[in-house]
């Protein structure tokens, strides 16, 4: 409900349809609002940071800016996968922070109308449904729409801090 209204808000603010970036993780399709995406880049070298949880890949240089990178597979407790030519990093703009997320591949950008998005029911997916704001069926395939801020920002920041604290003191 509140999730749905969130989407409506984004949709209405842009007037009518809403564009999403679709990516693959473990053969499932996910989507994030295109407005939140700064750019998509190929897999690059990432410097690990000590005391951080496993899904925190490290930091990377994005044209002079140092930004944190998160591995979506590990974040969603999927098993790790070696980088391939398709592996991409989506740079998200979660003001004030920019954050990179590693995904298996980026497939497309789709425009969706509000009525195409149904609220997320209890479905079988690899990730906690807390992060999903809606689902879309397109060309016989399910696309799960991620509430990316909830997935990555607040939750993650506080748990990161806790993790850093406990690891550094363990």
């Amino acid at each position: 409900m509140s999730n749905n209204s969130e989407i409506k808000k984004t949709a209405s603010s842009k007037g009518g349809s809403n564009r999403f970036l679709v990516f693959n993780l473990n053969d499932e399709s996910y989507a994030v609002p295109l407005l939140k995406v700064r750019e998509v880049i190929a897999q690059t070298e990432i410097t690990p940071v000590p005391y951080t949880p496993a899904h925190f890949k490290g930091v990377m240089n994005l044209r002079g800016q140092v930004i944190s990178v998160i591995d979506m597979r590990l974040k969603f407790k999927m098993k790790a996968k070696d980088a391939s030519g398709e592996t991409a990093i989506i740079i998200l703009d979660l003001s004030p922070v920019s954050l990179g997320v590693v995904v298996d591949s980026v497939t497309s950008v789709v425009a969706l109308n509000e009525d195409q998005i149904s609220p997320s029911p209890e479905i079988e997916s690899s990730i906690s449904t807390d992060y999903i704001t809606g689902i879309v069926r397109m060309d016989g395939k399910l696309i799960l729409i991620l509430e990316i801020e909830k997935t990555l920002s607040l939750d993650d920041l506080s748990s990161m801090r806790k993790h850093i604290k406990s690891t550094a003191a363990a």
Binding site: E45, T47, P48, V49, P50, Y51, T52, F56, G58, V59, M60, N61, G64, Q65, V66, I67, S68, V97, S98, L99, D156, L157, M160, R161, I164, K165, T167, A168, A169, A170
Partner: protein, 580 residues
């Protein structure tokens, strides 16, 4: 409010800060030089121009208060009043009030203030003193020394109604404003948003790194023409770097003036005689560094007045001049900016500090420390000397904060002191914060940057100099001194295979308390000027990691604080040992 009006108001408020700071300085000049008519003329001009501009910008409260001050100043210029310390104090406090109003108005230009108390006080001091041009202002002195205008409630109120002569003054002041502005600014300058400058400095930093890479590989280019162009580019890049770094630099002068005020006020409050000297007020300092240092400087200056300098009686008994000296000095030395705070007071008492440190458990009962090491103890947190012996009382309060602030801007503090003769605090700062000289080291397959300033030396340990103590770890014998050795990979809990210590490089660092330690890394890759990049909020708490840098090959590397790392590591391993 129209855009034009807002713009007008904001421009005035920016200008007003400068005017008020000039006024403050002049008030103090007036006190030291009461007979100098030119000082009075200058003050009068400044006040008049302030009043006029405030009226033109529509700040009535500022204008009214300035108007009251102006009429007091008229009496001073005409010789009907003498600039007694009481009057100067009032002028200074009123100046503070104006400054506070200006800074509040910057946040909310529509704010109104109740200045009735001030108006009363200013009129009162005139009424009390103007009857005779002599400095006999006894009633008001009493009132003012208690410092507060509540006092005036009890005084008989024979006050004339407040005169609102504003519009006229606003018109008259217009031509004067331009004149005053020219006098204030001297050289022409423009205001630029600090964020823009930071962006420029940041980008130039990147440019310098790319240029360094290009320069390193120029020999692999065949064309002599391109090689020459690269060499020229190198030169011009350095010039751009120098210029852009200079944009962030501001003179120390306003800070020095602020200190003069603090000395004046605290000396007066404590009834001490103090002569304050400054040297090098034109020395420039990075704006950010200055902002961080402002509080520590105030603290050190207050300490010098409060606890360094003795009372006149004590000084005379010790055979010293009755008036104490406090000196504030700033100068550049090599890549450093040095700020020194001297006082010719009683100096630090090594025995008393040591006794205090032992009783609070900061040092062990049998620890042997050099005088330098003892002095550094006053910066230890928990070295509160509230109930300590007189010569020290209060010295420790907030000293750890001073140290933390200075460390925040990559600086260090040295202390020199002679008992009975005086103390000198020397703050050593890097000229620039954005760029540091970094040593790039490798450990566990990763590269890390260590600020050069944190490294005392580095060496490859010989087998005979390494000892292993079960349950404690490795120790390095460095010319007779025994230092604990920590592997960087162990500290970071990396699973990477670590080579023998004899195959490693030991980087020696020292804690604030002067304890040396060694961090073992696999290799030292080189030394490079690096631009410090901040990490996101999600990485603020990583112990010992202070930022990141982008190395020549474009990869990010973490900047580490060795002392932080070692202290965190030791703390947790000793607690583990206790449990086990």
């Amino acid at each position: 409010m129209s855009d034009f009006e807002t713009q007008l108001k904001m421009t005035f408020l920016e200008e007003a800060e400068q005017l008020l700071s000039d006024c403050e300085q002049s008030f103090m000049d007036l006190e030291t030089n009461p007979s100098d008519k030119s000082v009075l003329t200058k003050i009068f001009r400044l006040a008049h121009s302030f009043k006029g501009s405030a009226g033109a910008a529509g700040f009535e409260d500022l204008m009214h208060l300035a108007h009251q001050l102006e009429s007091l100043l008229v009496k001073l210029t005409e010789g009907k009043l003498q600039p007694t310390p009481e009057i100067v104090s009032l002028l200074l406090r009123a100046n503070d009030q104006l400054a506070k109003m200006v800074s509040d108005l910057k946040v909310n230009p529509d704010l109104r203030f109740d200045i009735a108390d001030w108006v009363e006080e200013i009129r009162d001091i005139q009424d009390n003193c103007s009857s005779s041009a002599s400095p006999a202002c006894t009633p008001s002195r009493k009132a003012l020394n208690i410092s507060g205008f509540e006092i005036f409630d009890e005084e008989p109120e024979v006050l004339a109604p407040v005169v609102h002569a504003a519009p006229l003054a606003a018109v008259a002041a217009a031509p004067q404003t331009a004149e005053a502005k020219a006098a204030v600014q001297g050289e022409e300058s423009i205001r630029v948003n600090l964020r823009r400058i930071d962006k420029l400095v940041n980008d130039v930093g990147e440019l310098v790194i790319l240029q360094t890479v290009l320069y390193q590989y120029r020999s692999s280019i065949e064309s002599p023409f391109i090689q020459k162009t690269i060499a020229q580019l190198e030169k011009i890049t350095r010039q751009i770097q120098d210029t852009s770094m200079g944009l962030r630099m501001v003179p120390m002068k306003p800070t020095f003036q602020k200190m003069q005020r603090i000395i004046r006020d605290s000396a007066q409050a404590l009834g001490k005689q103090i002569i304050f000297d400054t040297t090098g007020e034109d020395t420039e300092i990075d704006k950010t560094v200055l902002d961080v240092l402002s509080d520590p400087l105030v603290h050190l200056i207050r300490n010098a007045v409060d606890h360094g300098i003795e009372t006149s009686e004590e000084r005379e008994a010790a055979g010293k001049a009755a008036a104490g000296h406090v000196k504030l000095v700033a100068f550049n030395r090599g890549d450093n900016l040095i700020i020194e705070i001297y006082d010719d007071g009683k100096g630090l008492d090594v025995e008393k500090i040591l006794k205090k440190a032992r009783s609070t458990g900061i040092v062990g009962p049998n620890a042997k420390l050099t005088d330098q090491e003892v002095y550094q103890l006053i910066f230890a947190s928990g070295f509160s000397t509230k109930e300590a012996v007189t010569s020290l009382s209060g010295r420790g309060v907030g000293m750890d904060v001073v140290k933390t602030h200075v460390a925040e801007v990559e600086g260090s503090i040295e202390i020199q002191s002679t008992l009975g003769k005086g103390t000198c605090f020397r703050i050593i700062l890097p000229l620039s914060l954005a760029l540091i000289d970094g040593m790039i080291v490798r450990a566990g397959g990763q590269r890390y940057v260590v600020p050069i300033t944190a490294i005392i030396e580095s060496l490859q340990p010989k087998k005979e100099n390494i000892d292993f103590v079960t349950g404690k770890g490795y120790y390095l014998n460095l010319r007779g001194e025994t230092l604990p050795v920590y592997r960087l990979t162990d500290i970071f809990r990396s699973n990477a295979e670590a080579p023998e210590l004899t195959q490693c490089i030991a980087v020696i660092g020292r804690t604030a308390l002067g304890e040396s330690y060694a961090i073992a890394v696999e290799d030292i890759i080189g030394q490079q000027q690096i631009v410090i990049k901040s990490l996101g909020p999600e990485l603020k708490n990583v112990p010992g990691v202070t930022g990141a840098a982008i190395l020549g090959d474009g990869k990010a590397a973490l900047i580490i604080d060795m002392t932080d790392l070692v202290q965190g590591f030791v703390k947790h391993s000793s607690s583990v040992r206790r449990i086990a």
